[in-house]
């Protein structure tokens, strides 16, 4: 890796002071993406601002019918949290299948959502559950947050402090892992919350997206039969040696049906 200045601020304000106005600075939460990128010399930040000292950003809280999960909460802690398992068990299940135990014990929800890797799992949950992304400067709706490939609504000097998830009546996540990396090649999160039914897809496209036709069908009849004839167009989907766009489009249907079945159990 190239040389950089390393900082470990003790407060959000200190972290923001280091990040704001410095385009070459990079925040690091769990480092599960940034560290390998640095080691391969694919990134050359002037400063790495380690958010690991911001203890107030880690942890799960239940506020009425809402789960508020701190940005620095590790995947492993989400997976094993009694509160998450009770309020949105599908979210705990998703977190328990991210990467491997080492990744789950380092990687954080805020880091994953802020990075918006097209193959990350969390964005599907955030969109399907119609969660709210809370930052040091304000709030973003899930739909407005994810802008495109590795692109989010986060502005200069803005970091995710927490994500708030409304309770789901029904929810499930089904992932088709890339055979090599085991990242989501196609991951479908289906949820029925107070704001309706949502079907969010990760892995298949440049960024997480919703399948409105399935949402409408499931709103009328929450069963896999209701969506069995709905085809997702392959246009614009990712294509690589593990999956053509057509294959990914097909898998969205398969995973969506399986997610609905799982959510219905």
């Amino acid at each position: 890796m190239y040389d950089f200045a390393y900082h470990r601020p003790k407060s959000v304000a200190d972290a923001i002071a280091l990040l704001k106005g410095n385009e070459e600075a990079r925040p690091m939460s769990g480092g599960m993406t940034l560290i390998p990128t640095l080691k391969q010399r694919l990134a050359r930040p002037s400063d790495v601002v380690d958010l690991g000292g911001l203890k107030e950003l880690a942890g799960v809280k239940v506020e009425g019918d809402t789960l508020v999960i701190g940005g620095m909460t590790k995947h492993g802690d989400v997976a094993t949290s009694a509160d998450v398992k009770k309020v949105i068990p599908a979210l705990a299940d998703l977190a328990g299948h991210i990467g491997d135990p080492q990744v789950r014990n380092r990687g954080t929800m805020g880091g994953s959502v802020a990075n918006n890797d097209p193959a990350a799992d969390y964005p599907a949950a955030v969109v399907a559950l119609n969660a709210t992304v809370i930052t040091n400067t304000g709030k973003h709706t899930a739909d407005a947050f994810f802008k495109g490939l590795f692109e989010t609504a986060l502005g200069d000097g803005e970091i995710i402090t927490a994500i708030s998830f409304p309770k789901a009546e029904k929810a499930a996540y089904m992932k088709f892992p890339n055979p090599a990396s085991r990242y989501a090649m196609v991951g479908v999160f289906v949820a029925k919350t107070a704001s309706g039914v949502r079907v969010a897809v990760t892995g298949a496209g440049p960024s997480v997206f919703r399948v409105k036709a399935m949402e409408e069908a499931l709103s009328k009849n929450f069963s896999s039969d209701a969506i069995k004839d709905i085809k997702v167009p392959a246009d614009g989907l990712n294509s690589d040696i593990h999956g053509s766009a057509e294959y990914r489009a097909h898998l969205v249907g398969v995973m969506a049906r399986r997610a609905v079945d799982k959510a219905s159990k």
Binding site: P179, A180, S181, I241
Partner: protein, 794 residues
């Protein structure tokens, strides 16, 4: 078996203590004072002219000690890397041998080709400096697609190999085979690809070298499977350092699978540069360098035809293969698709006529050479796939068709039509046992049950033959091999009775330290903890050929047995003297010399002590000391054989193939340590299933970029992909080596791909899928299903 730790005992591996506690010593662990670190600048292009290399900025980079380019090697008159096996083509001409410069001079020929070596005070400084080297490339079209390598207009890799052809080789009489086909009742034809694999040993390749200015001696530490052969090549062909001035040490090595047999550019450079730099040099490949520059394996495109009579007896087999050599001919590359492939095409069968034609191609990809099984997996895949296809076409049971054509046990030694003479074997009981273990009769019920769950279940057979422990040396020489194929052993007792067993083979995961100790313990009665197995250092071991081709026990173990014979013979003379008996009356039992019919005895340790402290010793007749060497050159290959049965379930919605059960019944001859053998079989099956379902090196067909260049894109088989394997054994001892052993290291990888793919085809046949290529990834299977559905709709 003489004891709980002798031949046949499941002795826990003694070397595992250091491996499992992190106390092994690998090349990268070496603490070398004043060490420098090397970084290799690699070609980012598959094919390009080097117009210029500007190192001026890089030389000023902090910490840089030296920078070398191909031109420096030309100036120093360093030889190129060699191919050590001369294959003669069908006209009797030696294969085309394009030069293989250690570092590229004016042309790069694959992504990863070595362009410059930077030596600096730290690895990061070396890498920083490498980024400052300016190479002006003129990018040229690349020859990547093997099936089109010989096409007119295909980009040429070497002027010395016109049309990209290295050799056009054949075995068998084509006209006889054609005549048999003309009379056949049925002909099965197929076109198959044997997918290209990247070895991925757990420890990447590494090298370190030190030059002693006072003595002029070089020491090279390398992750080599055969340090003496590496030294021989570097001395005699590449660097010209006299053999006695070059010590090669291969310490603990974390896996090789063949990829560490060969002499590579980077270790050559590290050794050569050590004297110029004047400080030790260390280099360890990054994983991405391993992907790009380790020799890859397999990579064949084959058309095969099998002729059968109306009863299903095989009449003749015809095989045409294009084999990829990559950009340069690696150390043993030419032999793999010829003498290690086509000579195995009889398999376990009495096929009387076989013709094979192999054309070797150069392409703008990494060199291809031996990888676990080396030629034999490719042969088994051809035979066992076409036999199962023929059975399906003839609506015969695949086991029945195999049985009908097995070489009968009474026919051994059996001369095949493709040069080899099988020494021993008994195939029908093996397949019977495998079918019993796999519950073959219950398969249709399991298929029906799976169908009710929406899954497609299939079963597949693979009955393999392997020729391992290449031998004898004279035959290897006649076939063009450049080295002998014997092995050495030395048994060196210390005065206090403990012993060093020194072998010319090399362990890089196989468990030699345990297996060889068991042999010596069993034979000489020395306790296991009094035996140290030594290997891997040209200065402390007799010249040896190293480890590859499942040879270490059959050849190296046999050498150890010969050395124990000499120890016992000498010990008898000493004991006879001490017991005042006639040597003819002395017997050796359980570690003690005895005179039959008396209570006189001399434990071996006492004879050893007498040999080193010869106060009462027959000095007039024998020399002091107890230290014996043996060299063993086998009379023939050994021929392990077996049958694997794989059972899979396919999810037609996703294309995912799941291995539900995998059975392997093998004849490895006598078995020394069943636990180690099981480990070898398990690992082999995993690699074979890996080839069938997961692994595949993919180059972009235009640019030649390696698309599967990391674990993010190259799918390794993992523990959760597998059920527990079911193993069984049948034993026909090898008749020509003293242990009666065959070889087990490659068998799993040889047999498994065909077993898996036959199961996949069996599962998919009911829905009309005719053919799936390896690897049968979810995408590949799904697309095959889609294709069949489209074909059915038309």
């Amino acid at each position: 078996m003489t004891s709980a730790t002798g031949i046949g005992a499941r002795v826990l591996r003694t070397e595992d203590k250091r491996f499992l506690t992190g106390t092994g010593r690998y090349v990268d662990d070496l603490p070398l004072a004043r060490a420098t670190y090397a970084y290799f600048l690699r070609s980012p292009h598959a094919h390009a002219k080097i117009k210029s290399i500007d190192i001026s900025a890089a030389e000023k980079s902090p910490g840089v000690v030296n920078i070398f380019t191909g031109k420096d090697l030309v100036d120093a008159k360093v030889g190129g890397l060699i191919c050590g096996w001369v294959v003669k083509d069908k006209h009797g001409e030696p294969h085309k041998a394009p030069p293989h410069p250690v570092m590229a001079v004016d042309t790069v020929r694959y992504v990863g080709d070595t362009v410059a070596m930077v030596v600096a005070n730290s690895y990061d400084e070396a890498r920083d400096a490498a980024e400052a080297i300016k190479v002006d490339y003129e990018v040229l079209p690349a020859n990547i697609d093997l099936a089109k390598a010989f096409d007119k207009g295909a980009p040429q890799v070497h002027p010395e190999a016109p049309g990209n052809l290295i050799y056009d080789w054949e075995i068998g009489v084509k006209a006889d085979v054609e005549a048999a086909f003309a009379k056949a009742a049925h002909v099965t034809k197929m076109d198959i690809v044997n997918n290209r694999l990247i070895p991925n040993a757990m420890e990447p390749r590494a090298a370190a070298a030190e030059y002693d200015k006072g003595t002029g001696n070089y020491t090279l530490w390398s992750t080599s499977q055969n340090p003496h052969v590496l030294r021989l090549i570097l001395s005699a062909f590449v660097l010209g350092i006299p053999e006695h001035k070059l010590r090669v040490i291969a310490p603990d090595v974390g896996g090789g699978f063949g990829s560490k047999i060969f002499c590579y550019a980077d270790e050559t450079m590290v050794c050569w540069a050590a004297s110029r730099v004047g400080r030790p040099i260390k280099w360890t490949a990054e994983r991405s360098e391993s992907f790009q520059t380790d020799c890859h394996g397999r990579d064949h495109v084959t058309h095969a035809e099998l002729a059968l009579d109306k009863e299903g007896k095989f009449l003749a087999l015809k095989v045409e293969t294009i084999a990829n050599m990559g950009a340069y001919l690696s150390t043993f590359s030419t032999a793999v698709p010829t003498y290690l492939y086509a000579t195995l095409l009889a398999g376990q069968y009495t096929t009387p006529l076989i013709y094979a034609n192999v054309k070797a191609a150069v392409t703008h990809t990494a060199p291809v050479d031996a990888y676990r099984g080396a030629g034999r997996p490719e042969a088994t895949f051809v035979i066992e796939t076409i036999v199962s296809k023929a059975a399906a076409e003839l609506k015969m049971d695949p086991a029945e068709l195999r049985r009908k054509n097995f070489i009968p046990s009474t026919a051994f030694p059996y001369q095949t039509p493709v040069a080899l003479q099988y020494d021993s074997g008994n195939y029908p009981p093996i397949i019977d046992e495998a079918m019993k273990i796999a519950d073959y009769p219950g398969f249709e019920a399991r298929r029906a049950e799976a169908k009710a769950r929406g899954k497609l279940r299939g079963i597949g057979f693979s009955s393999y033959i392997e020729a391992c422990g290449l031998a004898p040396s004279q035959v290897i020489g006649q076939l063009g091999g450049g080295v002998g194929q014997w092995e050495s052993a030395q048994i060196k007792f210390n005065p206090t009775g403990n012993v060093q067993v020194i072998t010319g083979s090399h362990s890089h995961g196989q468990g030699h330290e345990t297996t060889f100790a068991q042999l010596v313990h069993d034979r000489l009665g020395v306790p296991m903890d009094q035996i140290e197995v030594v290997h891997g250092d040209t200065s402390t071991t007799p010249f040896g050929m190293g480890t590859y081709g499942s040879r270490s026990l059959a050849v190296g173990g046999s050498a150890i047995m010969k050395a124990t014979d000499k120890i016992i013979a000498k010990g008898k003379k000493i004991a006879a003297h001490l017991m005042e008996a006639d040597v003819a009356d002395v017997v050796f039992e359980n570690g003690t010399f005895k005179v039959a019919g008396t209570d006189k005895n001399v434990p071996l340790a006492q004879a050893v002590f007498a040999a080193y402290v010869p106060h009462n010793y027959p000095l007039a007749e024998i020399e002091p000391g107890m230290d014996e060497n043996a060299f063993y050159d086998p009379a023939n290959f050994v021929y392990p054989a077996g049958t694997q049965i794989c059972e899979v379930e396919i999810d037609p919605d996703t294309g995912i193939v799941e291995v539900i059960a995998h059975t392997a019944v093998d004849d490895f001859g006598n078995i020394i340590n069943p636990m180690i053998v099981e480990g070898q079989v398990h690992g082999g099956i995993v690699q074979g299933v890996g080839q069938a379902l997961f692994e595949g090196a993919v180059y972009d067909k235009q640019t030649g970029q390696l698309l599967s260049g990391s674990f993010m894109d190259y799918t390794m088989p993992r523990a959760d992909n597998f059920p527990s394997f079911k193993l069984g054994y049948k034993v026909t001892p090898c008749p020509h080596n003293p242990l009666g052993v065959k070889g087990c290291g490659e068998a799993g990888a040889i047999a498994a791909p065909a077993a898996v793919m036959n199961a996949v085809h069996n599962a998919l046949a009911p829905i009309g899928v005719k053919h799936v290529e390896m690897p049968a990834t979810p995408l590949n299977v799904w697309q095959s299903i889609q294709g069949a559905q489209r074909a059915a709709a038309e």
